[in-house]
């Protein structure tokens, strides 16, 4: 076993052991940030992954960025052009920010986002997409101004990210609050509400003045977003998650 493996993995395992004991987000953010400096990072963020197609904004769970970078990021709607966000929606594996592609000519704003991050001391970074149930994707991302990441350091922070994400959700109770985040479009909610009221697809198509095929499509999309296999289950799930009320 090389000395490096011992060092990085020990740092990671010690930190994961410590996660157990944290009682408040501030405590965890402080300790995580200082542990991550040993890997070359100056901060981290745990958040949802905003999906432009579903009109999601980013919900921050834990903001461990330096110099209020997250406030700047939110105020400028950087999530819309952030290549790391786009990559998180596609990637299943962790990646370095430098591996998130963008075309500087087609998307000058992407270049701006990365440039501003660098000005805040976040020149490089590492992102871990986290797949939750019901198709939700979160992101744990860490940044700093460093040279290169050792492969063993990457595996170590990958593990830290997985455990820190779970601990963050446990601390803020997001496991319960988050499912209420609005995920259905107005049209989808309309159709599910009428379905809950006992209307058939044909009746709803008459009421809303759209084709039955359009109704079927909205039901299908809503079911997909809710992780349901059929219309009835989608209605139950939509009510439970407060996407519609009856």
């Amino acid at each position: 076993m090389s000395a490096k493996l011992v060092d990085y993995s020990k740092l990671a395992f010690d930190l994961i052991d410590e996660l157990e004991r944290f009682q408040t987000p501030d405590e965890m953010i402080g300790r995580m940030s200082s542990a991550l400096t040993q890997f070359g990072f100056s901060g981290f963020l745990i958040s949802t992954t905003p999906d432009l197609r579903a009109a999601h904004r980013r919900q921050t769970f834990f903001d461990g960025w330096p110099n209020n970078f997250n406030d700047h990021y939110i105020a400028n709607d950087f999530y819309k052009d952030d290549p790391v966000v786009a990559m998180c929606l596609r990637a299943t594996d962790p990646f370095e920010w430098s591996e998130a592609p963008y075309d500087a000519e087609d998307s000058p704003r992407a270049k701006t986002v990365m440039g501003v991050a660098a000005e805040f001391g976040l020149k490089n970074g590492f992102a871990v997409p986290i797949y939750r149930e019901r198709g939700l994707i979160d992101t744990v991302t860490m940044g700093g101004d460093y040279g290169a990441l050792d492969p063993l350091a990457k595996r170590s922070i990958h593990l830290v990210a997985l455990y820190a994400h779970s601990k963050a959700l446990a601390l803020i109770g997001a496991g319960h609050a988050d499912p209420y985040r609005r995920i259905l479009s107005n049209g989808e909610r309309e159709v599910l509400s009428w379905t809950a009221a006992g209307k058939t697809s044909w009746e709803i198509s008459v009421i809303l003045g759209v084709s039955e095929a359009a109704i079927a499509k909205r039901i299908k999309m809503a079911s997909r977003k809710l992780g349901s296999v059929n219309k009835t289950q989608a209605v139950v799930e939509a009510i439970r998650r407060r996407q519609i009320s009856v």
Partner: protein, 213 residues
């Protein structure tokens, strides 16, 4: 219901076990494209499908719809023989009180689109935990894709890592140890809306591990 199949009662389940190996072929060879598996007559098996293996089978109307396999960690098992590097920080836990949990599946039409959140999965999980509690096991080890961690954490399972994640055949895998107690079972039952025992023991008189030890 979830049937427990040990070396002792295996002849009562010959047909179901064959069916289970055929389903495993569909899932692990065709769907997940796992490598280095033994395939015979459209059925998948590996070197751990031996006398020491304990199967749990979800059977509905005579049809196998889900299942799993448990290995005693005092015998050769997946983590000890195939993926020991995944436990290179904490070592491979080996004890009569610890099993290894492998091959957790539900057939395709019993899964929702996220893969593993269905009713049958819930029964297999609760059945597995009940089996472990019945064996007086203190916990189990498991090798999974990393995306399982967020899920298992959300069920209230108290995972500890055994080593760093590693990229193996294109998948990030990680080995974990998970302690089992009544609270683990209750949390999992709540998560899946299961109120009572789901297991059936036909022709089992002995614990699975004591007599192989």
């Amino acid at each position: 219901m979830i049937h427990i199949v040990t070396a002792e009662n295996r002849k009562l389940y010959e047909k179901e076990l064959l069916e289970h190996h055929r389903i495993r072929y569909d899932i692990y060879v065709r769907e997940n494209k796992w490598k280095n598996l033994k395939v015979e007559d459209g059925r998948e098996s590996d070197q751990f499908d031996n006398e020491d293996a304990v199967y749990i089978l979800a059977i509905e109307d005579g049809r196998v719809v889900g299942g799993s396999r448990f290995m005693p960690t005092i015998k050769p098992h997946l983590l000890s023989e195939v993926f020991p590097s995944l436990a290179d920080v904490k070592g491979v836990p080996r004890s009569p009180d610890i099993f290894e949990w492998t091959r957790l599946f539900a057939i395709a039409d019993k899964r929702d689109r996220n893969g593993h959140s269905g009713r049958v999965t819930g029964q297999v999980l609760c059945g597995g935990l009940e089996f472990l509690l019945g064996e007086e096991a203190t916990g189990f080890t498991i090798v999974t894709e990393v995306y399982w961690l967020a899920r298992t954490h959300s069920w209230g399972w108290k995972l500890s890592p055994l080593g760093l994640p590693a990229l193996i055949d294109g998948e990030w895998l990680v080995a974990s140890y998970i302690p089992v107690d009544v609270e683990t079972l209750q949390a999992t039952r709540r998560r899946y809306g299961i109120a009572e025992s789901v297991i059936v023991r036909n022709g089992i008189t002995r614990p699975a591990v004591r007599h192989v030890a």
